[in-house]
Symmetry: C2
Subunit: 331 residues, 2 copies
């Protein structure tokens, strides 16, 4: 901005800055702040520095980010751990119940079997799938890198499509009974699991937790009680079309900077900010970022290489200039 003012004396567009310093703690005040400042923040486009290059020589534009919801399942049986010889067979085992409940969430082929789970999912278009297929991805290489004998996916979708743009239900943790060395013939009295879902438009975190809760509660067998506790995390999914006017301008600028057309990429990761701004201000966010994958995002010693920073500076100047020239109306 200073460079633009120094050389041109004026800015090509009207700019408003929003500095968000709470991302690492879940942005507890962002929603209230944006809601309260809605009029002052009103704008035609949000541009966020959160975003990544595909690699050092190839630009990328994010067009899909997943939402998130979380919950914990607690299965409780008898009032104490029991002897598996004395009570085994007559007292329900909470681990078996929990295993059955978890198994009921997906079929062996990988399709989620929670009633209503896919109801509000917007399916991928042929255009989406074509653009996605342009992004270099080898299932064989990825499997080898991760040390698995095969990638998996929902029937009808490639592993890349599932990870990028289809919803997931993952058990993040499970525990119950004896975990030490050797054998303990206990019939445990409780079992627990933590679950998160990655959501896609137009799924909603609260509705999804409700659907899972109903699914589980309708499957509780005799002899145990099951409680489903929603987690505090909840984020809406976000999608922006590749031909959104903001993306078209970002595309042109990135092509100019790198000499290559950007890939349109999706991620199963979540940036609650984009969905929040869309909901509160009614405008999309273009993620125009210049980090690289190895720059320790959210981890200790996060950094950005100076040449990426400088490349970003130049690109942002061109972005503002191009928006000033072309405007943001759809072509």
């Amino acid at each position: 901005v200073e460079a633009l003012l120094a050389t041109e004396g004026t800015l090509p567009v009207n700019l408003k800055f929003l500095f968000e310093g709470q991302e690492e703690i879940g942005s507890p005040d962002l929603l209230d702040f944006v809601t309260a400042q809605r009029e002052r923040l009103a704008c035609d486009l949000v541009v966020s520095a959160d975003g990544m290059q595909w690699d050092v020589s190839h630009p990328a534009i994010w067009v899909g980010l997943k939402g998130l919801c979380s919950l914990e399942i607690d299965v409780n049986g008898a009032n104490q751990d029991l002897h598996s010889g004395i009570h085994g067979g007559m007292v329900q085992n909470p681990i078996h119940v929990l295993a059955g409940l978890i198994a009921s969430l997906r079929n062996p082929e990988g399709r989620i079997t929670i009633e209503g789970f896919y109801d509000s999912v917007v399916d991928l278009t042929e255009e989406d799938r074509k653009r996605m297929a342009l992004v270099p991805f080898s299932a064989e290489d990825e499997a080898e890198r991760l040390g698995v004998n095969s990638l998996v996916s929902e029937p009808g979708y490639t592993p890349q499509e599932h990870a990028w743009a289809r919803p997931t239900v993952e058990v993040n943790g499970i525990w119950g009974g004896y975990q030490g060395g050797g054998t303990k013939t206990v019939l445990p009295n409780s079992a627990h699991a933590k679950i998160t879902c990655r959501l896609v438009p137009d799924q909603n975190p609260d509705d999804t937790v409700d659907a899972i809760r109903q699914h589980l509660e309708s499957r509780v067998p005799a002899g145990v009680t099951v409680s489903v506790k929603p987690g505090r995390e909840g984020a809406n999914p976000y999608r922006i079309t590749s031909d959104h006017p903001g993306n078209e301008i970002a595309h042109a600028v990135l092509e100019e900077v790198y000499g290559k057309e950007p890939y349109y990429v999706w991620t199963g990761g979540t940036i609650p900010f984009c969905a929040l701004m869309l909901q509160q201000l009614g405008v999309h966010t273009v993620n125009f970022g210049f980090q690289l994958e190895d720059e320790q995002l959210h981890a200790p010693n996060e950094f950005i290489r100076l040449y990426n920073f400088q490349r970003g500076q130049g690109a942002y100047i061109r972005l503002l200039q191009t928006i000033g020239e072309k405007g943001l109306s759809p072509k």
Copy 2:
């Protein structure tokens, strides 16, 4: 024995003593010892002091003890924990796989669905069921005492019959992924479970572990490896008919001592000694014991009330005398 020798000058039967001091550590040397001393130990009946009164005023004779086998299941996925957003959907989740495998071991009604699991199970006779039904047991009271809304059982069997005389598969412990507070959006790379089975005649611990292993290994989906590790524990089930000559004599003596007929009881617990003696010496063991349930068996401060000890002394004298009088041939 001293009392008998002092009063009668001779013993009514030929006696051999075997003192087993390793029960609390799994009797690692018992099998080798009995095998090596088979000729010196040869006899018509084994009588073991391991056994319990039903309560202080009512005798009981054990006629069924379950066997045991144990194993651990390890499901391994990627070479490290992964981000559920980036890889969720394309990488198999070991917890889901483990839950599916566990759920496949039993159907929701409580019948075990491992191929071949019941093949060598000797079913209960009508006589068994009648004798079992004579033993006081209230499913409602037991459920209330244990704090569960209902007892359960295999279809076609009462909870008492299942716990006493039908085989079980219990997950004793399960773990994998994140178990701490709050949410962690991890796609874990391994999941584990410990399992024990309580076996009934003529199931065999090794064959049962093999059957479970085959069942599990035929159900491993793409993207993970599954290993099944047998535990060191393994014990054969044991059964003795209520009209075995040894039991008929024990019955007569107990009726004389208590003024009440003994209950014939079964337990899901395991006493490897009985099956071992049957296998090595070809003779059954009568469990002729006088402990009470609250005397801390195998626990710290195990004890026996002096009046139970004295009652036992008297009963053992009558047992030896009666065997001497009647002999051990079937009537």
